[in-house]
Subunit: 346 residues, 2 copies
Amino acid sequence: MSAPPVKVLLAIRVDPHQVARIAAVSPRLLVTYRPELLPAGGLTGAAPARDPADGVTSMGGASAWRDLLADAEIMLGFDWEEPGNLLRRAPRLRWVQADSAGIGEFVAAHGLVDDRLQLTTASGVHGQPISEYVLAGMLHFAKRFPDLAEWKAAREWRPYTPVELAGSEVLIIGLGAIGRAVARLCAAVGMRVTGLRRTGGPPPPGVSHILGHAELDERLPDFSFVVLAAPLTPWTHHLLDRPRIERLRRGAVVINVGRGALIDEEALVAALAGGGLGGAVLDVFEIEPLPAASPLWSLSNVVITAHSCGAVTEEPDRIVDLFIDNLGRYLSGQALRNLYQADRGY
Amino acid sequence: MSAPPVKVLLAIRVDPHQVARIAAVSPRLLVTYRPELLPAGGLTGAAPARDPADGVTSMGGASAWRDLLADAEIMLGFDWEEPGNLLRRAPRLRWVQADSAGIGEFVAAHGLVDDRLQLTTASGVHGQPISEYVLAGMLHFAKRFPDLAEWKAAREWRPYTPVELAGSEVLIIGLGAIGRAVARLCAAVGMRVTGLRRTGGPPPPGVSHILGHAELDERLPDFSFVVLAAPLTPWTHHLLDRPRIERLRRGAVVINVGRGALIDEEALVAALAGGGLGGAVLDVFEIEPLPAASPLWSLSNVVITAHSCGAVTEEPDRIVDLFIDNLGRYLSGQALRNLYQADRGY
């Protein structure tokens, strides 16, 4: 009698040819992909859903989806339908490969920590697109694109002197896969990169100096750009609080690709509106979706993206590559890559 | 009896401490800097002045300026007042160090070619700022900043999928100091760089392939970005003409940091308005200043800068560094760096 199949449920949209690649990892796998039961777009687990019905596009398929959950041992992506009931609805589940790097908030909000369940993050998948977004935001302000737009609207021929990025000072808070990718790109364009991280160790490539926590407040005024790429943990909550925002260099640009609550958003708005800060580039917010009443929408020196700066056309393929690698490890009993550790929150 | 002094006239604005550095090159130099006789801002020689009075801010000093010209052997910058009368007004002039890389148009328009007069360009000074501007323009469209601005104005939370720059194909037309700096930066962010140049030779750093002229038309549809960094010569005039613009890939972005007349501007406008092209990033135009009636001002997929993308705070210092190096060469009878050659036009 042969061993029972390992049931794999794909809960994110992937290209049909990728389903075949996943199934080809081992004949022991039974892979189910039912795109008609999935929400139309976007990532799951990117931020905590406030309403269990968030993202549901077809309630008609709900019972079919429930049946698939009941059998699944492995999932690619979380339960989009009732994220908080995953442990109950999927009693055989042993591993979820997430499609987001920062799942700490989501996992905590939905109580998904369980000894029988391994969670792996998509850390590393979004490094390239997010680092490009960070660079785009830096150049947007260094080359004064908001002014250019204004002069263009007035049909005003106005020679100007933009700021040079090479040689400017950037602080990157958080040196996980995303922070390290940002550091490499900033160094490649000639910026001087300082990093801040919880753990010690030598500076990763591109980082010329690691800041001690004790030095943070003193050194904050030195940087033209501050990039937040840290996970949200009790230690990082409101890491950029009002006093620190007020210590930033006049004209500095703040870029948040980590989690919204890393920054005291109200204090940030005040500094942006008052002209103390040069600008902000924000992909994440304290409340998502960003409420229509937020003053951030109306500030001309703010760039807003809807928690999607890490998305690129190639992204689902890279997540599948990671999933396939981890599937091989799972089947052979090896340790999984990007294993989420609840005690540290990432 | 000691030799008569070598009279140096500074015709661009520089920092006062730089005047002392220039004078310190040799006791034989007599350096004159009269900022009150210079126009208020901007570069000289950046584009042909259509009106001899362009840039004049103080006519009261005109006769003092004329007297200085009459004596000068060396100038940093051209005559801002009557550029076309330089040879007559400065009969002792033997060398002008320009503050622009592309002086061919200016020199031809004002008939400044003379056997007794050496001209040197500022080639190399603007490589870093211009390459950063090119990258800013690429990222502006790759990360869909025009869409982001629209959604922000509508307070619309809209997840999106931007394009990744890494791995995309860029063609750089012209591999002088600026084209090579653009190539290095594009390669540093992971783009695949193809170059086109008049002369042969191995590809410079960052360029993976040199295109033969015969292949240009066939290969044009392959590129997501086309950067023009060539000098304006009879060979490059309207190099991007209507048929070639129509061959570009749908959604491609054209970036011109060379000279306006490298592109058939009317054909470019048509392709931008019709949606065939994704966007254009233009620092130079067929007529400068760009007339208020130009349709380019009203196209949402165009970034316009007023022939100043190479300007940075550090720029005058770098021109002075080059000038000081060339002064040493001049005094010792060595060949000057960046010598302009009228027969090739740069």
